[in-house]
Assembly symmetry: C2
Homo-oligomer: 425 residues x 2
């Protein structure tokens, strides 16, 4: 274990212990000071970010990555506004629940407490630094951040603002620490620090999640990878279905809750598929059609497909597209739809479009995804959209929390048991 | 990966998917059939257990281990009765909570669902096989059990009864599988099966927990190791404190929630310590006294200690005694008590004995253990005692659940979101 990393862990533990006792007022003051600091230091931050963007361009980063990496005055204003939203949220710490008095007179309740120290490993986006730090501080947790090397100058500048603000407010600056060393060995160190770190959140692609699961001694919250489905049932409102599918696919195709596969009931396929192709074509969407759908898509007697349709390849239904591509399959009914989803979904967000209460109920009961939809776009799987204010991650694994993780999901609880010198018989 | 283990994983996943849809009636019928099967097959089970006990005796197992290993008609009756208690508990699956309608009209709620497949690695006690299988089935989860090799014949007999009962009731027998291979490599295989297993519960000593954390790709719920403290505050009811300490130490010293260290406020130490020594001596308890306590314990002018008191060694306050030994330290007040607990507790069960509301509140707020007590014995940290009916483990880590884990702690949730063709703006 790297000595510096161990010190980081020790300091994070101490800061977490301090923060666990902090009042809402203290924490909100720190967050407000961070927001003010970001405003005051805007030029330095944008300059540091420009260094990263220039280096990224030199190193041949894709335009999509460069876009994620880039901060602008407007984006920084958005980050500051998100931070103020977190300030406005209630403090989850101290919440008392499941209060009861046992037959023997013992008074028992649970009380919400911070988790402790959270390690977050993420990639190019500098806004994650503030999303995570803001939610962690508000919920009384310390964080150790490991951003991507391509954003190191931006993160240095942002973390400096955060730590200064904490110090000025009398909060422990070690509540937010940043691994300022691009060596990947430091990620390994972090994953081994189970004495100091209670939860690991990787935010990135499948290979990052795999690396964390393989190497971590600490529980890893995996998620954020969505192969998302919508099933158009026989009784669906087809016009409504078209709009929901379009929204789920087109509104922001690069994110995890965007739609990847449409399943269409065979009884409505003949009328629905041509409309679907036409609508999506106008948005620039390319369809990858299962052989079950191909006969219904040909535009002339010779089996020719429309320009925006190609036959699906063997991996296509196991691909998170993150772009304007959409898988398409005709199914014999609800059972086959549920089977397909069980086989191909990453259990992120899957939905049914139907007017049958019975089918909706079966879909909701039998599809085991973090978010299950009836007649709505999968794009709502988002902490902000679902009322959490913000999110540190979207979990697709069953432990601790599922779906968007906000403030409450960064807490755990203790049992508090009060008696009058009670002894166990 | 061992081929057999992989098949086990695949079958467990399929069984879990089936069980997730099972009704309470189906699950309870299966549990009732298991209970009946245990009664009917009592002789075979006890005979298989006698084989284990004989082999254990030959292999030099300690009397304590042999005792844990041994089944008797009375103990089997107890296991059957525990199973019937689980039958009587409500089914947590399907519970709807946090129901809300968002400003945009989306109806959102959370719905409790089983975790999926749970891997449990445990040691000599055959009752764990039924505790875990019973709670897992009731909460709709499949389990893969890995009992200690010293109890393999007992577990074979018990698992046969369980699987037969499931098959007879039309439930998937692969919901309860048992790794019938003493090779430790199979434990490693289990820990690597993150595709098939969602949560690992080790039930055993620190080295088993360490092994699991080191080697698991699956989140591990560690716990069950308790270095437990009681702090006798200056305002404590000393007679009551004596009875609580006695109960916490003596009532069942071999378990994780038994008391390990007493901290005594210096202002009451002089009057309290001699009474404590006298009371506990009668129960056969040996005290390991910190130097802060020694001057108050001498029985004559030459600094001689009572027979039941020895000076504490350097590791004594970091030892889970599991026997009639108790650490003792005099502290200057609440602050030092909280500091000592932060430095030495395993965050299992720690308490204060006080008549000061202010001190009780500070202790509850600042001691971050899974169970925090005011004026009660630490022995209540137990699923049965706290109203959960039973427990699969007592978690001392913050993720997912803390303290005793019963039926609800074997579930997670899905978000259910219903709209009228809602799209995200």
């Amino acid at each position: 274990m790297d000595q510096k990393m161990q010190h980081m862990g020790e300091r994070a533990r101490a800061a977490a212990r301090w923060l666990a006792k902090a009042t809402r007022e203290q924490k909100d003051a720190g967050l407000e000071r961070i927001a003010a600091g970001l405003q005051a230091r805007q030029d330095d931050i944008l300059q540091a970010n420009q260094q990263d963007v220039a280096a990224g361009r030199e190193n041949g980063l894709s335009e999509a990555l460069l876009d994620r990496l880039t901060l602008t005055p407007a984006r920084l204003a958005g980050i500051i506004s998100d931070l103020r939203n977190v300030i406005a949220l209630p403090d989850p710490v101290g919440e008392v629940f499941e209060q009861t008095t046992l037959p023997n007179g013992l008074c028992v309740h649970k009380q919400r407490v911070p988790i402790g120290v959270i390690g977050v490993i993420y990639e190019a986006r500098p806004n994650v630094t503030l999303d995570v730090a803001g939610l962690a501080l508000k919920s009384g947790n310390a964080v150790i951040l490991r951003g991507g090397s391509e954003t190191i100058n931006s993160n240095r500048a942002l973390v400096e603002v955060i730590r200064n603000a904490l110090a000025v407010c009398g909060l422990p600056e070690d509540a937010v620490q940043f691994i300022d060393d691009p060596d990947r060995k430091r990620v390994l160190d972090l994953l081994q620090m189970d004495r100091y770190v209670d939860m690991i959140i990787p935010r990135g692609g499948a290979s990052l999640h795999e690396f964390c699961r393989q190497n971590s001694r600490i529980p890893v919250i995996t998620g954020g990878i969505g192969i998302c489905h919508l099933f158009v049932d026989e009784s669906a409102d087809l016009e409504g279905a078209l709009q929901v599918i379009r929204n789920a696919k087109v509104q922001r195709p690069s994110v995890c809750n965007a739609l990847d596969t449409v399943l269409v009931h065979e009884k409505v396929a003949q009328s629905f598929l041509p409309r679907l192709v036409e609508t999506l074509q106008a948005d620039g969407v390319t369809l990858r059609a299962h052989e079950s759908a191909l006969p219904l898509l040909t535009v002339n007697g010779e089996g020719e497909l429309p320009a925006s349709v190609a036959p699906a390849g063997p991996q296509d239904f196991d691909t998170e597209w993150l772009s304007l591509v959409l898988g398409l399959k005709v199914v014999s009914g609800l059972d086959e739809a549920i089977e397909h989803i069980a086989a191909h979904s990453t259990q992120h967000s899957d939905g049914i479009l139907t007017r049958s209460e019975e089918h909706a109920a079966r879909f909701v009961s039998e599809v085991n995804s973090a978010a299950v939809y009836v007649n709505a776009s999968t794009r709502f799987t988002d902490g902000g959209q679902l009322g959490l204010g913000a999110e540190v991650a979207i979990s697709t694994q069953p432990l601790h929390a599922r779906g968007p993780m906000g403030l409450r999901e960064l807490t755990t609880y203790k049992w508090v048991i009060r008696g009058e010198n009670h002894v166990r018989p």
